[in-house]
């Protein structure tokens, strides 16, 4: 009875919803955050926010309901729940006694600043430092970012050439992606395997969220870090920014970002930094697809790549056949897929990885292959086990029904057969049901 851990990739909104209201309110104090949150809202919600941005009084709920047609009521309700969950607005009673909605004043002011200008400059442009003698162009920034990120992934796969700092290794262990026995090097877990097969944007998000969770335990200011992260996502690629005015914890955060490949700094003490493409796509959530895999109906995979990491990832679920300087030929077999599943990867993840990385002129995976991979996964699930306690040989139908209803009320009834008066209760509920039964017997 194995527990399969499913990797949950939360997005920005889900993460923000989990934060406490005080932290959220402090977060909205920065225009960059408000703009980033606004950008991710569904379009109907964006419309609502825009309409209410310049209102100083609450708007009656009835008026709000008039904005949508009757058949779009579901979208309207969804919008209302999204906006309430993020604390972008709250209901307030109007003078006439009706209920109305008003935008969160902090959010309102800062969004206005973000859209119309004014307020403090978000990031200090490097103009005070003069032109950079060692300027980096966009291409080299991209290369740097990908190289750094791949070092982390290589370290997870266990390539001997990859070495990361102690801090980063610990973060990976805390995130549940790797496990470390006492004194030995960490090795990858099944959640780690699933993480490897995600696309880069989801990987970045998952990683950043894990980092933010541990940030408080390191003594770093969550609000400061988050605001800085959003600021970064609005910066221009290829432009350098100065580290003037950044606090201690922000500087430490910058060093960590440098290790992940989100910013580039020539030296640790450099006073300027360049955001890379990874940082900018982090909050924007847009991904570019440079595919390299072709999946054929004879179960062969051709991967047009020479990157060690990509080859290692394809080898996770297929058998390598031939290797050329620019192509790798692999075959998807029952053994290789079941080996991947034994490692904790689901068939859906393998298929997502292939679909995401497919070469553009064959945009669809052959249905035979997708079905077969799923069937190979289901083969292992032919038996479903659940622990339980069997009750049978009841003296009367009434006894059976009383006990059955009690178990159902407790939520621990696993299976029942009324015709034969047999039922199965989960082990957790068993003691409670047994006590109930004894009370019943003694009272009758």
């Amino acid at each position: 009875m194995k527990l399969r851990v499913h990797l949950q990739c939360k997005n920005l909104h889900e993460y923000l919803r989990e934060l406490s209201p005080e932290i959220l309110d402090r977060l909205y104090n920065h225009p960059a955050t408000c703009l980033a949150v606004y950008r991710d809202l569904p379009s109907l919600a964006k419309n609502y926010v825009m309409r209410m941005l310049f209102l100083d009084q609450p708007l009656p709920q009835a008026a709000l309901a008039l904005w949508v047609k009757i058949d779009s009521q579901k979208d309207h309700d969804e919008c209302v729940s999204v906006l309430t969950g993020l604390r972008l607005w709250h209901s307030q009673q109007l003078q006439g006694g009706l209920q109305g909605y008003i935008l969160n004043p902090v959010f309102k002011d800062n969004l206005r600043i973000a859209l119309l200008g004014g307020g403090k400059a978000w990031a200090d442009e490097g103009s005070s430092l003069g032109p950079d003698r060692h300027a980096r162009d966009i291409e080299s920034l991209d290369r740097y970012a990908i190289e750094r990120w791949e070092v982390i992934l290589h370290f997870m796969v266990g390539s001997p050439c990859a070495a990361v700092s102690q801090d980063l290794a610990q973060l990976l262990v805390q995130a549940g992606l790797m496990k470390s026995e006492a004194g030995e090097a960490p090795y990858i877990t099944s959640a780690g395997f699933q993480f490897l097969l995600l696309d880069t944007a989801s990987q970045l998000w998952y990683f950043t969220l894990q980092y933010l969770k541990t940030a408080q335990s390191r003594g770093m200011e969550l609000v400061e870090i988050l605001s800085f992260l959003f600021q970064l996502s609005f910066s221009t690629l290829g432009r350098d920014y100065s580290v003037e005015g950044m606090s201690e914890s922000l500087l430490t955060f910058l060093q960590h970002l440098r290790e992940f490949g989100l910013v580039f700094q020539r030296k640790r003490k450099s006073r300027r930094y360049y955001p890379t493409r990874l940082a900018i796509t982090l909050a924007a959530g847009v991904t570019t697809n440079t595919g390299f895999i072709v999946v054929e109906t004879n179960y062969r995979i051709y991967a047009y790549t020479d990157s060690e990491l990509q080859i290692a990832l394809v080898a996770l679920f297929s058998e390598m056949l031939y290797r050329f300087p620019n192509v790798v030929v692999a075959q998807v077999t029952r053994e290789s897929v079941q080996q991947a599943i034994a490692n904790g990867i689901t068939a859906q993840q393998v298929l997502n990885y292939c679909t995401h990385n497919v070469l553009l002129w064959t945009p669809v995976l052959p249905p035979t292959i997708t079905d077969q991979i799923r069937l190979w996964e289901l083969e292992r699930d032919r038996l479903r086990f659940s622990e339980g306690v069997l009750y049978n040989q009841f003296l009367s139908q009434v006894d059976f029904e009383v006990l059955r209803d009690r178990a159902q009320g407790l939520g621990c009834l696993v299976w029942q057969d009324a015709a034969h008066r047999v039922m199965v209760v989960s082990p957790q509920g068993h003691s409670e049901v047994k006590r109930f039964w004894k009370r019943q017997k003694s009272s009758t």
Partner: protein
Amino acid sequence: MVNVHKGVLVECDPAMKQFLLYLDEKMALGKKFILKDLDDTHLFILAEVVQTLQERVGELMDQNSFTVTQK
């Protein structure tokens, strides 16, 4: 008096259930492990044989499969 047994509830399709009944009858696991036959798709078995049962089912699936492709 109500009878109480501790064990594991198994849910499967009817074909797999017949296979489990066969294993039980032939004492393939060294002992009888089915405590109660509940209905077409459910059985109640001993808790300790779960691992070996998974292995046996795996072996059965291996016997019935063949390599689809040629290398």
